[in-house]
């Protein structure tokens, strides 16, 4: 098994999602509130993982554009759970050494006095390890 195949297997395992159930209807992407800001859209995450093209997803920052709103999960007619696959790709990226997407030093210039703590802890949970 190549490294890429191992990573794909790991993504399927930790997400608990099965991309092979997808019938390519595109409803997940149609439901996604942020698809226009993503290089690869939710249905492409599913397709690329199924077809061994994970490297494309790992080179893109699309996984960091997902807001984990779960619209794609709720509206997928095949219960594929695209957001869980996207989260597993995001984790594959940030679990690498020195690969945090958001650095603590960047925080001070991004906050204003109304920003809730919830935003900071959520961003750290999604973007750093």
């Amino acid at each position: 098994m190549t490294d890429l195949q191992k990573q794909i297997e790991n993504i399927k395992r930790i997400s608990g999602a099965n991309p092979e159930k997808c019938m390519r209807c595109g409803k997940c992407t149609a439901a996604c509130p942020n698809y226009s800001e993503m290089e690869y859209h939710p249905h492409q995450f599913v397709y690329f993982i199924e077809n061994g093209q994970l490297d494309r997803l790992l080179k893109s920052d699309s996984a960091f554009r997902c807001m984990t709103c779960f619209a794609c999960v709720e509206r997928c007619p095949r219960d594929v759970k695209p957001a869980k696959l996207i989260e597993a790709v995001r984790l594959t990226l940030i679990r690498r050494k020195d690969s945090n997407y958001l650095k603590p030093d960047e925080i001070p210039q991004k906050i204003d006095e109304d920003l809730p703590q919830q935003a900071i802890v959520s961003a750290f949970r999604k973007y750093t390890k």
């Binding site: 807001m67 619209a71 709720e74 935003a119």
Partner: protein, 258 residues
């Protein structure tokens, strides 16, 4: 009736009104909210990967405390509710997660998802009853109010089980109970942009702008929410078109507490 209560860190700092009026209104409605002992931050967002064990521990501590007291656990922040309820579901349903969490925490009595987790809105609907709230109102709000649910209260519907995730009614029925007129926006359960506010502010600008515009066009005079991050994104990106407040504030107004 006594309940365990999980406020969460944002409610102790930037969202004090969400917490303060939740407590005052519960008291006025004859319920006692007992804060969980030594609770810790839920982490703000649930991590969906099953091998994410450490990120679930703080929720399990709160859940175990409520279980040991024999109480249901009431949450009020949408984000805390989403995290805690989903972790609770994992502890009940996923042997993988349950085993690892209990092995790590070594509680006297292993936790298996026994606690009933209810959001404050469910407490109002199912424990107090909207009819009784209607009777307790001394100051009907008499405004056209748009309910903004966001994502976290409703999804995934199979776990959150609060309401129909695509066509919810709970907040609209709440608005009616306190004497207001609900205004329904098609964006009421679409994401505000969430934590992308820190990494890519274009997303919340666009999403929250759409939500507030839509509520205004439908004739709302005010928007209510249960989530501090939704409130922040909507206020920051929606201009000053409409006042945006926590649902507990407007409840307190109706009950004559505020």
């Amino acid at each position: 009736m006594k309940y365990s209560y999980y406020p969460g860190c944002t409610l102790k700092t930037k969202a004090k009104d969400l917490d303060l009026y939740a407590r005052k209104c519960a008291e006025a409605l004859g319920a006692e909210l007992e804060e969980v002992d030594e609770w810790q931050c839920c982490g703000g967002v649930y991590t969906t990967a099953q091998d994410e064990i450490a990120t679930k521990l703080s929720s399990v501590r709160a859940l175990t405390c409520a279980r040991d007291r024999g109480q249901a656990l009431v949450t009020v922040c949408s984000a805390c509710h989403n995290v805690i309820k989903r972790v609770n579901n994992d502890m009940a349903e996923s042997e993988y997660v349950r085993t690892r969490v209990n092995n790590y925490m070594q509680p006297e009595n292993p936790y298996k998802g026994e606690t009933k987790v209810i959001h404050y809105l469910e407490f109002l609907r199912d424990e107090v009853g909207f009819d009784n709230i209607k009777k307790a109102v001394v100051n009907p709000v008499k405004r056209r109010i748009a309910a903004y649910y966001g994502c976290l209260l409703l999804r995934p519907g199979s776990v959150m089980a609060m309401d129909n995730p695509e066509n919810p009614k709970i907040l609209e029925n709440f608005i009616t109970a306190i004497g207001g007129t609900p205004v329904v926006s098609p964006y009421r359960n679409e994401c505000c942009g969430a934590y992308l506010t820190l990494t890519d502010s274009a997303a919340p600008e666009k999403r929250s702008g759409l939500i507030v515009d839509s509520c205004e066009k439908k004739g709302a005079e005010m928007i209510i929410t249960a989530c501090p991050l939704c409130l922040y994104n909507l206020k920051k990106n929606g201009g000053d078109k409409l006042p945006i407040v926590y649902f507990t504030e407007i409840l307190a107004e109706a009950l004559g507490i505020k």
